[in-house]
Symmetry: D3
Subunit: 137 residues, 6 copies
Amino acid sequence: MPDVTVTRRLRFNAAHRVHNPALSDAENTALFGKCNHPNWHGHNYVLEVSVTGPIDPVSGYVVDLGRVRDVVEREVIDQVDHRNLNLDVPFLAGANPTSENIVVAMWGVIAPAIAPARLSRLRLWETENNYVEYDGR
Amino acid sequence: MPDVTVTRRLRFNAAHRVHNPALSDAENTALFGKCNHPNWHGHNYVLEVSVTGPIDPVSGYVVDLGRVRDVVEREVIDQVDHRNLNLDVPFLAGANPTSENIVVAMWGVIAPAIAPARLSRLRLWETENNYVEYDGR
Amino acid sequence: MPDVTVTRRLRFNAAHRVHNPALSDAENTALFGKCNHPNWHGHNYVLEVSVTGPIDPVSGYVVDLGRVRDVVEREVIDQVDHRNLNLDVPFLAGANPTSENIVVAMWGVIAPAIAPARLSRLRLWETENNYVEYDGR
Amino acid sequence: MPDVTVTRRLRFNAAHRVHNPALSDAENTALFGKCNHPNWHGHNYVLEVSVTGPIDPVSGYVVDLGRVRDVVEREVIDQVDHRNLNLDVPFLAGANPTSENIVVAMWGVIAPAIAPARLSRLRLWETENNYVEYDGR
Amino acid sequence: MPDVTVTRRLRFNAAHRVHNPALSDAENTALFGKCNHPNWHGHNYVLEVSVTGPIDPVSGYVVDLGRVRDVVEREVIDQVDHRNLNLDVPFLAGANPTSENIVVAMWGVIAPAIAPARLSRLRLWETENNYVEYDGR
Amino acid sequence: MPDVTVTRRLRFNAAHRVHNPALSDAENTALFGKCNHPNWHGHNYVLEVSVTGPIDPVSGYVVDLGRVRDVVEREVIDQVDHRNLNLDVPFLAGANPTSENIVVAMWGVIAPAIAPARLSRLRLWETENNYVEYDGR
């Protein structure tokens, strides 16, 4: 039975600043420039959630994408949408919310929540000109 | 000689319903919800066809994408465009036309038709928010 | 107080065929070609709903787009999404579901439902390559 | 000499909350819901700036879009990009930064700055699903 | 009978340089910068062709968009696609191929060719960040 | 420390013709059709540059995408934007500028320029309907 990858795209709008609390303000400014602006800025993030596996012969699905959407909305989107990624999100507490750190943290939440379906890739778009990808390895 | 992957994007508009004829109507409704609606619904599908191989030193191409387009249009797009995926398509006869089953069936048609060029990936978008990918394994 | 136009984009997936029941099958085929295919085809429609008016000084809104979304989802999207536009939709009963006829019929439903907000334009995309616009005149 | 409209698309990423300081917190929450979240949220805004006029017979341009871009970047984008629209932007001071109020305020800045070129329309996308338009009237 | 506007989107890939042959090379460089590069550059242009009129009660169409596509492909796209806009296109002979001049020249070709259908707007995208619009007035 | 892939999207507008100077004009025409047009055509190319590696614990970045953008703009985009890919570009000298040959040549420029960051993928879009990908192997 061949493996197919299915992907669901979801969106959220959040505020953040790129800031490492272990560094001084001057070091943060030098390292992150305008992305460190103290009064925050924000993005329309797009998250693509991919699951890989064999096709279930009864449903014809690898996984019910409606269930994937429901789980990711409850576990991730509802935590970050219209929120501040530095201040409001339990699974990002203490983290510097770069796209890299966000995507790895989201993996830690989504992978167990959708098991036994196998999460195979997360792609997170911060703007139409940059995105990050993580496959759990 | 390095391997490069080249991709052509094609579109078709089709009706379908997600329906397993081996199940009862009640089971189909429970499993597929509104996607099982008996009077059909439809999509603007987008198919991305990828071929991988070394660059031909004479043409500078991995493969002539014009030939790929012609073959895929004749073998696949002309069979599904402005058609019903449950009723009208020989290579989907008897299948439940989920995106997963469609993409695997299209692989079976396209891979031999474009040989000796090597089909390496099919990506099928059902809506702007979900897509499936298959690499033949 | 200046007038501003605000627009909400919504999507639905539906089956249809372009068919005038007052004509013979041969006439329908001659007039509409593959769009008249008897087993239906379908589209991912995108509907843009625009309201024009002065900005409310208390809310800063012309209209609450969340309310526009709720009304259009209840009155229009829920009637057409995952449905057959020729068979299933009360406000299209007896109509030939071309994009032109659909957009005028939707105007007749949406304009009174969102009053006193003033509907100023509907734009309906049938595919990424064609769309229609109607302003009620 | 016919009139042509030319448009330049620019982007900025900003934080904001929809909040009327003349109302109580309870009233703001009731009116604006999650868009009133106190720790802010944010967007990738897209601004389309349109100028209308006759074609200059020497340049073949209605206006040099490079100059439009420079003026709008200096007068608007540099003020809002990676900023907080409630706290940081002189031309929005005291305003509730709904898209409607933002677009009217931007008109007040851009129209004189690009004169004698005639600003004819601003379109501001807050997300891929909603946008506002203003033509100065 | 209400008026509806229907639009067809078409694409072409062309080379050009922005250059006024009545000016010196130095004047052209000063005025047009890198867009005047003597060895040309190019774009994936997108042309949106809009027709406005009442809905034909027999067809349900304002105009058959398939006929619009055929006429515009024959009269315009076949003249400009994979061509040089300064050297190869009869309807642009002697013109400085700015987007403004191109769109007005295309109007002169398309409006009579699709009559009695009434051309109401041409929108020409030169890049994803700039476009021009012309309505024949 | 897990590996994450980060991607920056950049754009350039260039003229080219697909032409192998080792072949006769008749052979070039037979092989490449309208893409061989002697007066050139052009495209709005989009280049996606991907870097893979562990997340730096101080910055939270795999690599500063601002630095990636600066390097790729200086080494590649400034060489090709508003230029002729057959005539003007040192790193393409003598090459037939198919997308495949362009992407491999760009790899040769970008990979050393962004070291020690590890270039992992280049994706080059020639039109909205075709793109090539190369991972250096």
